[in-house]
Every structure is written in structure tokens, then in C-alpha cells.
Amino acid sequence: MAATATGTNQVVPVGVGGGPRSKNGNGFHKNGGGDGDDMSLRFSPARYRIGVSMAIGSILMLFVALTSSYIVRSASGNDWRPIAMPKVLWLSTALIIISSITIERARRSLKQNNQAAYGTWLINTVALGIGFVASQLVAWRQLVRQGVYMAANPYNSFFYLFTAAHGVHLLGGLCALTYLLVRTRKARGTIDGELRRVGAADAVAIYWHFMDVLWIGLFMLLMFWK
């Protein structure tokens, strides 16, 4: 949407409408200087947040595809035989909910500039995350001992698939948490460094909450859509 000019002296809407016109700065020109080096203006903490939201969007679509298949498949054959949920999954669920709380505490501590508490809550979250994975593995082992294998029944197939697919993404979250532990426990000397540190912690926390909610959703689906 550019200029519409009919008269000769009339003219000329600069700018393509909609956006705010920028007044600050004296501009960058191919022949001229700009207002110096202000590349540090470039980093905005929203970047990590947008990035992680996009990642969540695509992971969500993956699970939409898998859970839709679950619902379609549950109606397509007469071989659908749901299993009794291993009790240990309740433990998993409890662990991941608590870990959501601890990561939130970690994030708050960081915002309040309490570096020691930040580190502690992070470690707690990692421990709970590992506990969750262990608990899921125990559930698998119990099922295998009972002779519940993946190929025996479509419900089993989906059970293993959901837990595995969620587990893989959760392991990614654990890697991210470990990164936070290793690289972001200490305050950084620069404004930009701090923005990145807080941004990274924010992003990982959002992802971790998503893992929590995703698990609860899958668990509910497996339990109630039989």
C-alpha cells in the first residue's frame, strides 16, 4: 500500500500505512554513517520467549496428530483393549507437578536477584525431572513384566508411544535445565548478558510447564478415553 498520487503538487505518504513512523536516530544510509554502533540494542528478551512458544506450537501439533490418531484408532477396530494404568504413573504425575512449582520458584528467585536460591531450585527441578523419568521407566518395566507389549494391542501401542514421545521431549527439557545449571547460575557482568540469562531461564521454565501440562493431558486421555 503505497502512495496514491493524482495531483502534481500533492504528495506523498511516506510509509506504508499502519506502522508507526520511526523518528529516532539519524538513519542509516548506504553512503553515510549511522548513529554509531548500537548493535547491543538488538537483543530483546522476547526472542527466547517467541522461540520457545514456536517450539511448543510445533510439539503441540505433533501430539495433536498422535492423539487424533489415538481417537480415530480407538473406533476403527474391535481390538481395542485398554490396560489398567500402572499406579506408579500417579507418582510421575505428582513429581512433574511439583517440578513445575520448583522451576517457577527458580524463575522468581532469579527475578528477585537471589542467585543462591535460583541455583537450589534449579537443582531441585532437575532432580524431580530425573525422578519423573525414572518413574516412567518403572511403569514400563511393570507393564513388560505383566506381559503388556507394544504390538499386542493398539491401546498398548499408543500408551508406549505417548509416554516415549513425551519422555523424549522431556529429556530435551532436562538438557535445557542442565544448561541453565551450568551456564546461568552466576550473574553476568553486562546488561545484555543478564537479559539473555533471564530470557533463557524464562524460556526453559515455559517449556517445562508445557511438559507438565502435556503429560497431564496425555495421562487424562489414556485414562478416560478408553
Binding site: A2, T4, A5, V12, G19, S22, N26, S40, S76, T190
Partner: protein
């Protein structure tokens, strides 16, 4: 602390070592070129396959010496078996759709120019960007492996050691199920026929890897565009190319995970004995398939096409963006109806998610859902028409500079219309019943999705080559390339419509056995000759591309007198694009022939003083009243 300092100014020093600079580079420009080179390699494989298919269709039983040497089982005596032909169809489609039409427009040109056009120094996540290319590259290697795992007995024996479902060496060049890989045949393993063992496994794995690479890319594109626009670069000042890449990234982000999910289910059916897609009581090659029951083959079709339809827009939207951009530049006029163009891109992308059922009209779906899918499909004609008329409006009354990129952009419009119009035919259930699986469909999607997208990429290559390599491509060779290709593709695909009307089925290895197709021999031969000429003419392009890289005329910063940010910086651009200075944008992307301005174009960075400003006179798009 050294690292913290770098972070503070957020500028990576230019890498010096060869590997960091050209191989594992995190510079979006290098990655873009890597994607383009990947597509240039993949398209060669795809083209050779299409020529082989044409030769077999026209002269069945031809002895092709090289095939005998490479694939003694699949082409004994150099004569390809029907299964070999089918695997060519599959691999041609898969390689072209994924590794050409998805990589070059988005990964290639998008990577290179999106950050520059919005005034950023790199992508938001450079490391992810590098990963996205290399993951895609591994996907390409795996699909190439599928060729030899099935086609070569030695490689086949080696890959068979991976497990029962990886049985290879069956004498094809990959799976025989087409690029859609319909279940249940694709889910059964080698009992389903040659190529259905290791070939399908590797095919699924390759596509799954490709999905991951594309997702990393899409995430990066969206974040970059939303977060890293420079001062003054409001959304509505962005070039339409950026809008197209953005919409494409959104489509990729939402559709590739669904294919990934489907691929995982399919692979599990094959290697873990599950029954997601395999129904009970299935007889294949005279034998009952044991140990499977209850699966839904249609579920695969839904998952596949939920991805598959957005995928065709992933292929063509960047071409639309490049075309809009290039038409405006060489018509020396603003894009007609910029805002409408933006909304049309979104409308096409959005509607694209709700029309997948039109690929499945003959699957036995309820006629009511078919009508719903049909109406939604036809409604895509509205934003498509908006775009077409706006392109024509941009050209209307313009003093057009007929450069090679402009010719290809006009060619894009022509092909988009010619191919799109049959979409209105195929989108209607009653007509699709007749045309489904005939050459009419092949004609439709090759013109609109295949060739049109490729023309968009040719236009983009000729247009941005000077910026990427600092030298112009040869105009003479470029125009010759254009005319042969333009006439050639019409000569290939227009007769396809006639063949479709005759009822000629897709994917058949030969037609000489059918009485009702006896009369079409001349047509088939004509298409083949046209195809061979067109393919050979691409040598002109490859030669021009690599020759101009070293010997082309030196290009200045702005050889086309264009307005957007990439033309404000040297060709090729320095490592961090804007040499550490943040550009400020004052203008929309298409301010050409503005009355009162000293030049017929206003750079986006030109200060406000360049023209008088009467506020409140925001127009409704260039309307052609420019004299």
C-alpha cells in the same frame, strides 16, 4: 569475560577457518547458499529420473546402458521393470517436493534475504539455523541411500543386517508407493513388493529427519521476523517476500509435525509390529497378512494430506513473494494493493489447512464432508485471484524493464494461472471422480506447484545473484534459458491435460498395451521430446550460475535500482550484513516512481526529507495512475 563482551555487542567475529566459514557456518548467508546448492544437486537427481520415466513411457523396452550397469536387477539388460519405473515416480516426487521445492525457496532465499530485508545481522538462533541445514542434508543422504539400498545388491545386503524390515536389494531405486506412501502397502514390509523393505524404511526416516530440519528452520524464521526487525521496519513496511517467508514458516511449523507423527506411526507398524494403519484380513500377493488387525489405512491419508496440502503452499508462497517483489521492481511501480497481498497470503495459508480432504474424494468419505472440502477448496480461488489481479495491476500501464528475473516473474504469473485454473476443476467432487489418478492431476500440480515454484526460484536467482556473489548473471544466456524453459514446460504439461481427458492413468509404466490409448502415442512422444529439450536447456542455467560467479560483470550495490534494505549494502554483504550499524527504515518497500522524488525509486532507508509529506494521504495501493 571475552565471551560476555561479544555478547554485549552481539556481533560474532567473522570466522577465518575454512570449515567454520563455508561448512559449519552459522552465518545465515552461507547457510542460504548451502540450501541453494543442496537444491541444485537434488533437482539434478529428480530431473534425470523424470527423463528416464519419459523414455520408458515413450519407447517401452528401450535398452539404457547406464541402467544396466548401475541397477542390474531392476533393469535387466538395461530395460526397466514396471516396479523400477514406480520407484522412479516415488523418488522423483519425494526428492523434488522435499529437497527442491521446500529447501530452495524457504531455506535458501529465505535464509539469505529475510534477515537482511528486515535489517537484522543474522537469524535469531544462528546455531539452530546451522543445525537445520545439516539435519536436512542428512535427510538427503538417507534418501540417496534408499536408492542404493534397494537398487544395489551389495548395499542391500549390508542394510538388511539392520533387521527384517530393512530387507533391501530388490532391484528398484526406492519405494514404489509414490511420494504419498499410502498405507497399508507402505506399512507391510517387503511382502508388499519390491522396494517396500529397506526402501520405505529409509524413505520414512529421511522424511522424518527432513521434518525436524524444517521445524528448526521455521521456528527460526518466525522468531527472527517477529523479534529482529530494525528501527522503523513496521510489519506493513516489510517487503512481500518477508510476508511470504513468514507465512510459509508458520505453515511448516504447524504441518510438518503432523507428517512426523504419521511417519512415526508408519515406521512402528513396519518395525515394531503395531497395527495403526494395517487392517485385519488383508490379502497381499495371495497371502493373508498375519499378526495385524484393526488398523485404519485412511488414517494415514488424513495425516499425510493434513501435511501435504499446506506443503504445496510451502512450496509456492515464497515464489509468490519473490514474484510480487520482482514485478514491482521492474515495473517501476508500487505493488498494487500491498495490504490486500498480505491478507491474501494469509488467507491462502490459513485455508490451506482445511482442504486436505480434496485429495481423498475417492476414498469413500461422506459426500457431505466432500462438499465441505470442495467449497473450502474453491474458496482458495478468491485470495489466489486477488493476488493474480494485483500482479496484473502492478504491470498495468508500467514501463516494464524486461530483464531475466522479470521474465521469470511474469512466467510465474502465467504458470500460476494456467495451473491454478484446473484446481477449480479438480476441487469439485463430481469432476474429480473422473480425473482422479489421471494425467490431468499430474498436469495440474506440476504447473501450479512444481514449475511455477521453480520459476519463482529462477526469478529469485537471477534477481539476487548480484547481491549474493557480487556479479551479474549473463542476461543473454538468461533470456535464452527463459524462453526455452517457458515454452518447454507448457509443451510438456499442456498435453498432460489432454491425456488426462483421454483417461490416461498416472504411475503406469507403459501405455502400449491399452486399446483406448493407442491414439495418444504421438502426444506421449511430443511430451518426451519437449521434456528432453527443456531438461537439456537447464545446462544454460547451471553454466550461467557457476560461470557468472567468477566471470560475470561486476555488480554494484544496487544494480536493479531496487528499494529494499539488501540493496543498501555492498555485494556480497559483509559478515554481519550492516557492518555493525542498525539501519533505520522510513519508507514502505515499494516506493517506485513517487512524484516529486528525485529518482524513480526511494530506498527504504532514505531520510524523510526526500519527499514532501502530506499526512493523512495514505492511499489504497498503487492504482496505475502514474504517468
Amino acid at each position: 569475560m571475552a565471551e560476555a563482551t561479544h555478547e554485549e555487542v552481539h556481533r560474532h567475529p567473522a570466522p577465518t577457518g575454512f570449515i567454520r566459514k563455508y561448512i559449519f557456518s552459522i552465518d545465515h548467508k552461507v547457510i542460504g547458499i548451502q540450501y541453494i546448492l543442496l537444491a541444485l544437486s537434488a533437482v539434478l537427481v529428480g530431473m534425470v529420473m523424470s527423463v528416464l520415466m519419459r523414455v520408458n513411457l515413450t519407447w517401452p523396452g528401450t535398452h539404457i546402458h547406464i541402467l544396466e550397469t548401475l541397477f542390474p536387477q531392476g533393469a535387466p539388460g538395461g530395460v526397466m521393470s514396471p516396479e523400477f519405473y514406480l520407484s522412479l515416480v516415488t523418488m522423483h516426487g519425494t526428492i523434488m517436493v522435499f529437497f527442491v521445492l521446500t529447501t530452495a525457496p524457504q531455506g535458501g532465499f529465505g535464509n539469505y534475504f529475510l534477515p537482511i530485508q528486515i535489517g537484522a545481522d543474522d537469524m535469531a538462533f544462528p546455531f539452530l539455523n546451522m543445525m537445520s541445514f545439516w539435519v536436512t542434508f542428512v535427510g538427503f543422504l538417507v534418501i540417496l541411500l534408499a536408492i542404493f539400498a534397494e537398487g544395489n545388491a551389495t548395499v542391500g545386503a549390508w542394510i538388511s543386517k539392520l533387521g527384517e524390515s530393512f530387507a533391501g536389494g530388490s532391484g528398484t531405486v526406492g519405494p514404489i508407493g509414490g511420494w504419498t506412501g499410502y498405507a497399508p502397502l507402505s506399512a507391510l514390509g517387503k511382502i508388499a513388493g519390491p522396494g517396500q523393505g529397506a526402501g520405505v524404511n529409509l524413505w520414512i526416516i529421511s522424511i522424518a529427519i527432513f521434518c525436524v530440519g524444517s521445524l528448526l528452520g521455521a521456528l527460526n524464521f518466525i522468531t527472527t521476523l517477529l523479534n529482529m526487525r530494525t528501527r522503523g521496519m513496521s510489519l506493513m513496511r516489510m517487503p512481500l517476500t518477508c510476508w511470504a517467508w513468514f507465512t510459509t514458516a508458520v505453515l511448516a511449523l504447524l504441518s510438518f509435525p503432523v507428517l512426523l507423527g504419521g511417519g512415526i506411526l508408519l515406521l512402528l507398524d513396519r518395525i515394531a509390529g503395531t497395527s495403526f494403519f494395517i487392517p485385519g484380513g488383508l490379502y497381499v500377493s495371495g497371502a493373508l497378512v498375519p499378526n495385524h488387525a484393526g488398523g485404519s489405512p485412511l488414517l494415514w491419508q488424513h495425516l499425510f494430506w493434513f501435511f501435504g496440502h499446506p506443503e504445496v503452499y510451502i512450496a509456492i508462497l515464497p515464489g509468490m513473494g519473490a514474484t510480487s517483489h520482482i514485478l514491482s521492481t521492474f515495473a517501476r511501480k508500487p505493488v498494487f494493493g500491498y495490504r490486500a497481498m498480505v491478507f491474501a497470503i494469509f488467507a491462502i495459508g490459513g485455508l490451506g489447512f482445511f482442504v486436505w480432504g480434496h485429495h481423498m474424494f475417492i476414498s469413500g468419505m461422506s459426500p457431505y464432508s466432500a462438499v465441505a472440502f470442495s467449497i473450502l477448496t474453491l474458496s482458495i480461488g478468491v485470495p489466489s485471484a486477488i493476488k493474480t489481479f494485483n500482479w496484473l495491476g502492478t504491470l498495468w500501464g508500467a514501463k516494464i524493464r524486461f530483464t531475466t528475473p522479470m521474465l521469470f516473474a511474469i512466467g510465474f504469473v502465467s504458470l500460476f494461472v494456467a495451473g491454478g485454473i484446473t484446481g477449480l476443476v479438480l476441487g469439485q467432487t463430481s469432476l474429480d471422480f473422473f480425473f482422479h489418478d489421471t494425467y490431468f492431476v499430474t498436469a495440474h500440480f506440476h504447473l501450479v506447484m512444481g514449475v511455477a515454484s521453480i520459476f519463482g526460484m529462477f526469478a529469485a536467482t537471477y534477481f539476487w545473484f548480484p547481491k549474493m556473489f557480487g556479479r551479474m548473471m549473463s542476461e543473454g544466456l538468461g533470456k535464452l534459458h527463459f524462453w526455452i524453459t517457458f515454452v518447454g514446460v507448457y509443451a510438456i504439461f499442456v498435453p498432460f491435460h489432454a491425456m488426462g481427458l483421454l483417461g490416461m492413468p498416472r504411475r503406469y509404466a507403459r501405455f502400449d498395451e491399452y486399446e483406448f490409448l493407442k491414439n495418444s502415442k504421438g502426444l506421449v512422444m511430443f511430451v518426451t521430446v519437449a521434456a528432453i529439450i527443456t531438461v537439456v536447456a537447464q545446462v544454460l542455467f547451471y553454466f550461467n550460475f557457476f560461470w557468472s560467479m567468477f566471470k560475470g560483470k561486476i555488480a554494484g550495490d544496487n544494480p536493479w535500482e531496487a528499494t529494499t534494505l539488501e540493496w543498501t549494502i555492498p555485494s556480497p554483504p559483509p559478515h554481519d550484513n550492516f557492518a555493525g550499524i542498525v539501519p533505520t527504515v522510513y519508507h514502505g518497500a515499494y516506493e517506485f516512481s513517487v512524484p516529486g522524488a528525485p529518482n524513480d525509486f526511494i530506498m527504504q532507508t532514505d531520510g524523510e526529507g526526500i519527499t514532501a509529506d502530506i499526512s493523512g494521504a495514505h492511499g489504497n495501493g498503487g492504482n496505475g495512475h502514474r504517468h
